[in-house]
Amino acid sequence: METLAIGCGAGFSGDRVDAAAPVVRTLIARGGPAALIFETLAERTLAAAQLARRANPDKGYEPLLEMTLRPVLADCLAHGITIVGNFGAANPGGAARAVAELAQELGLGRPRIAVLGGDDLSEGEGRARVAASLGNAFDADRFVCANAYQGAFEIADAIRAGAQVVVTGRVADPSLTLGPAIAHYGWGRTDWDQLAGATMAGHLLECGAQVSGGYFADPGRKEVPGLEDVGFPIAEIAPDGSTVITKADGTGGLVSAMTVKEQLLYELHDPAAYITPDVVADITAADVEELRPGAVRLSGVRGHPRTPTLKANAFFDGGWFGDAEISYAGPNAEARARLAMEVMRRRLGDVLTLRFDLIGVLSVLGDDAGAMLAAVPPGGATDVRLRVAARTDDEALIDRLHREVTALWTGGPAGGGGVRTAKRRRLTMRSCLVPREALPASFTFAA
């Protein structure tokens, strides 16, 4: 049987919309069966989409969907490259309509678009399941939404039923890749090693450029040619579930044993038990080898039986987040920024729990409680930006924080400039496990 090639066109919501076209050109040039996945649904992306849908029932799917698919939809349909994406987010039906409209506008007729459902636990029985699973951690007054991670077999069923585009909501990221592989090779639900191998191929693809030179370059240590044009990855999945990672032809970036190892372990916890809805993958006996420059093989992944539960993420109203910044530069700048910090602590410390950062001294590695910043002795930094951040249920207090930092312009230390303020609603997340049988996944073809 011919080897299946699966390309990745997006690794998060907001990824580059010009990334997919070189991948599709490469899949076409290589020939053979192929699919293209889009992974656009990070943990918090879906909660934001749920809120967008409540504000407008036509929204709630990936905002960049039309911009992302427009450059590749015609070629994919013409060459039989199945598109699988979780760009449906909180509204897979709406996303399917958007794809159908785009196809019509481009004169591509009516593609077969499958819509996957069953992940939304925000209402009714689903909500009750989440509440039961979370127990005291379920705050009914603040509950916003919950979605479970669905698996690959329903994606495979949809493809076997003739889908050219599969639109999903919450699906485990690697299942987007495993689905087309199951459809192609006809693996069964207990072909654990094959399922695990293709799952790890999907894991390597799901963050887009992160396996092909993105999130990797460190000048002088880890060089990446043409990072400004980093190519997106392609996985050639073999019948035994092993995979060879390459990337789009004629692009920048780098696929090496080092990039593949870094991404193999990305967001992994126990390497002997990477749990997805489909399988428990084990990479403790896996090998990563460079076959030739730009082609890396992952083999030896083992699979164990899937778990009886599915993971779900529940989101709760978390009140408000706000922050504000002001800069100091030149001689004694750090001392002036530290004085401004002290002024804010005295004026706001009684009503808000504040996080302070001194950008240019310490701002990223620090902790919210300020333990690390407190341990940094005053130095002579000459370009420092004070950041004050807080969370609270009371929006008025965020507005007050903004006014206080803004007032440092005239009432703070000398030479303060460049005030910026921002605020947004917060969503807090809790994860839980729900019984698999409570969530019958299914697909329908869009009208």
Binding site: A42, E43, R44, A47, Y215, F216, D218, R221, K222, M258, K261, E262, Q263, L264, L265, Y266, E267, L268, H269, D270, P271, A272, I283, T284, A285, A286, D287, V288, G300, F315, G318, F321, D323, R355, D357, I359, S363, V364, L365, G366, D367, D368, A371, M372, A375, R387, A389, A390, R391, R426, L427, T428, M429, S431
Partner: protein
Amino acid sequence: MDRRTLYDIAHARTGDKGNHSNISLIAYRREDWDLLVAQASEARVAAHFAYRRPSSVTRYLLPRLAAMNFVLEDVLDGGVNDSLDLDMHGKALSFHLLTLPIA
């Protein structure tokens, strides 16, 4: 005394899940693997990140890949949806790990 740090013998990448951070640590050269295993112990890494108050630090070894994976639990001030950190995912923590001195 060896003035080097882990940065001289290994590369690393951070990922996040909820309030937990995982940091891979990968030897550039297979011959440095034993040194990396000896230097990057759970105890030393836990001490290096003590200011983040991890509830646990677990190390998983992958000798075939000359790589290891650290899982630091409860170090992200609540994680991407809760933290007030500019880097709410803790993406930069891998480079903090690489500053661990080789003793």
